[in-house]
Symmetry: C2
Subunit: 388 residues, 2 copies
């Protein structure tokens, strides 16, 4: 815990198979005009839409619908949402969906009353918010991003081939989030597995950095172990409530700032993954999975002790007497075996990446400091190519 930092998180969470019953009480804290934001309409098939509408009606709210949020929310959709929010002067944005929908709701929250182009101000230039913010609440239906308890918001501009995430402050985090593990049962297996790997990689990004001895690293190992254990159950039986609930809870704590406290972090896998996303529109978690093994094998020599610790503490490998390098390799081999077991995509080609995209993907990749090695543009190309 060597750095100075502050911690606060204002999001109130309601967790469990009865969590929706608290929505009515939470709604009392806001005015009568609610924008209801959701994705492609799956919530109408599985009954969640009806439950939410009932709570809104019981609370006497006027509802302004904003459906159609795509898995990689676009800047065009953002402009559309801003118009709905502003024209109707909404008091609350209620996002019902996964990370994409909640990320998008935060984007509308800060952008609706922004007098400039919000893409330029809040994504390209990453400025602080200085205009009116519309409060956001969420009902989570897909697990992975942690967007339900953080300030993160990723928006994609296909024209500019850019997918950019801005981590906003406390005032943009959801005021409340409803977490019912059963709401995730109907998520397609491909999406569930992508979400599982997204959680795991969020932890890796914060874990594989820094050389100090830090409580945050122990907490990261705990979350990784819980995710690995629960994922093995969930891929066999997606309706195992305990496994899905552990995944949901671990996802929230994997990316609400706790496990990064007092240490440096990496995030380069996300940078490459987001660049791939901007080019292919592939599912976020799978873009991370496709580049992770080449990336971690590439940086492993620069953070050997941590990779050796990962093998021992996360994968339970008896590393005594092995030497750091062999231990580190064994840890990544165990990670690879687990990734194959749960069925993530390990090939960028399978996600639609072609040789002629590589230069563009490298250009679209932010090269961050903070991890064990700062990549060059050419190393990004090598890593993506190694996944093809």
């Amino acid at each position: 815990m060597l750095g100075n930092f502050s911690y606060s998180n204002p999001t109130k969470l309601y967790f469990g198979d009865d969590a929706i019953s608290f929505l009515k009480d939470e709604l009392k804290n806001y005015g009568s005009r609610v924008m209801l934001t959701y994705g492609g309409g799956s919530i109408k098939k599985n009954g969640i839409y009806d439950e939410v509408i009932k709570a809104l009606k019981d609370a006497g709210k006027e509802v302004f619908e904003d459906p159609g949020v795509m898995s990689n929310p676009t800047v065009q959709k953002l402009y559309e949402g801003c118009r709905i929010a502003k024209d109707n002067d909404v008091d609350l944005i209620l996002a019902v969906g996964g990370g994409s929908t909640i990320d998008y709701a935060k984007a509308v929250s800060v952008s609706a009353w922004c007098e400039e182009d919000p893409w330029d101000k809040y994504y390209l230039r990453m400025e602080d918010v200085d205009n009116r913010i519309i409060p956001v609440g969420s009902v989570l239906t897909m697990v992975g991003t942690g967007s339900e308890m953080n300030g993160g918001s990723v928006i994609t501009n296909h024209e500019q081939k850019k997918k950019i995430g801005h981590v906003f402050g406390d005032n943009v985090m959801p005021k409340f989030s409803i977490l019912n593990p059963k709401y995730t049962f109907t998520v397609l297996k491909y999406q569930m597995v992508a979400g599982i790997y997204d959680i795991f990689n969020h932890i890796c990004e914060q874990y594989f950095s820094g050389e100090d001895d830090n409580t945050s690293d122990y907490l990261s190992e705990a979350l990784m172990k819980s995710v690995i254990h629960a994922s093995r159950i969930a891929v066999k039986n997606p309706e195992d409530y305990e496994a899905r609930s552990n995944l949901m809870w671990a996802a929230t704590w994997a990316l609400n700032t706790l496990i990064s406290k007092g240490k440096t972090t990496d995030w380069e896998v996300h940078m490459i993954g987001q660049a791939i996303g901007a080019y292919t529109d592939a599912t976020h978690g799978m873009t991370l999975a496709a580049v992770s093994l080449p990336y971690y094998r590439h940086i492993m020599p620069y953070g050997l002790p941590k990779f050796a610790r990962f093998a021992k503490e996360v994968w339970g490998i008896q590393t005594e007497g092995m030497g750091d390098e062999a231990a580190a390799e064994a840890g990544l081999a165990a990670m690879e075996a687990w990734m194959k077991e749960i069925g993530v995509v390990l090939s960028a080609k399978e996600l639609g990446v072609t040789e002629d995209m590589l230069e563009g993907i490298a250009d679209a990749t932010f090269l961050l400091e903070g991890g064990y090695k700062t990549l060059s543009r050419n190393e990004v190309i090598d890593i993506v190519r190694a996944s093809m």
Copy 2:
């Protein structure tokens, strides 16, 4: 994660060797009349008092001093604090000290404007707070109780031989807490070690309960491992900043509700320890240490798989092929060795417990459900006697 629950924590934390610099900004959120609550005056020797007074003066506050909070804050002191707070109509209680001082500040916070006897209403009857609450902020100088980020408040009534903790809601938690690990350097080693065991036992109380597979248990193991590791460094070198900072951070997260989410908890060691405290005025953490091993060895047969897991995951014992019972015993033996290594008190006699107190201690001990076994009154006597 089988239960339904909610989570929110409004406390803002400032952590690091420069954390006090944020006090001035926080003070802007409150009126001009500040009650400054502290203990026996050690903060005047180590310079913390001067730093705090400077921040208060720079912020233009009028300060009402309330010194002399004892290690087990008494109900008489509470009445005195209530008079100071009410007579001066203070806008904020700033507690500078360890858990005792912060616990006491919360007690004054809810009691000053209470129209009944607050001991009866908030401790004996544990009622919800329905009167005006004075906001509390804290500057932490001793690590262990987690009071800096929770609603807990333990008050002792020596006349009634009762030491009772009430866990108040979000609205009573500190609004902000300043956590500077260096502020803990001058704590006496006995107190530091007692605090370390207090942290560890808080985790045990939440871990040794329930049979489900729960993310909270993984997080508990992580915190225990971090505490064990850091404690070994801190007892050798109390000025090791990294070790003291990890202890400080782990203490906060050990008792801010996170690791109890979705599971049952025990808390019987605390019940017995508090009864001993009411009779002896012994240091809280040491009362827990003195009864822990007899207690856990007594309940071990009722929660064997968890104790076996504890041996493997927390103490790194190779338990394969051992059988649960042998593994569980090995785990508690490792815990005992660690307790001796860091120098906690293992004998209730050493804390001042005498044979003629045993009946009274048993009477003063709340018998809780929630752990692996609900004790009888006689079992409490057996456990305390085993520590003598």
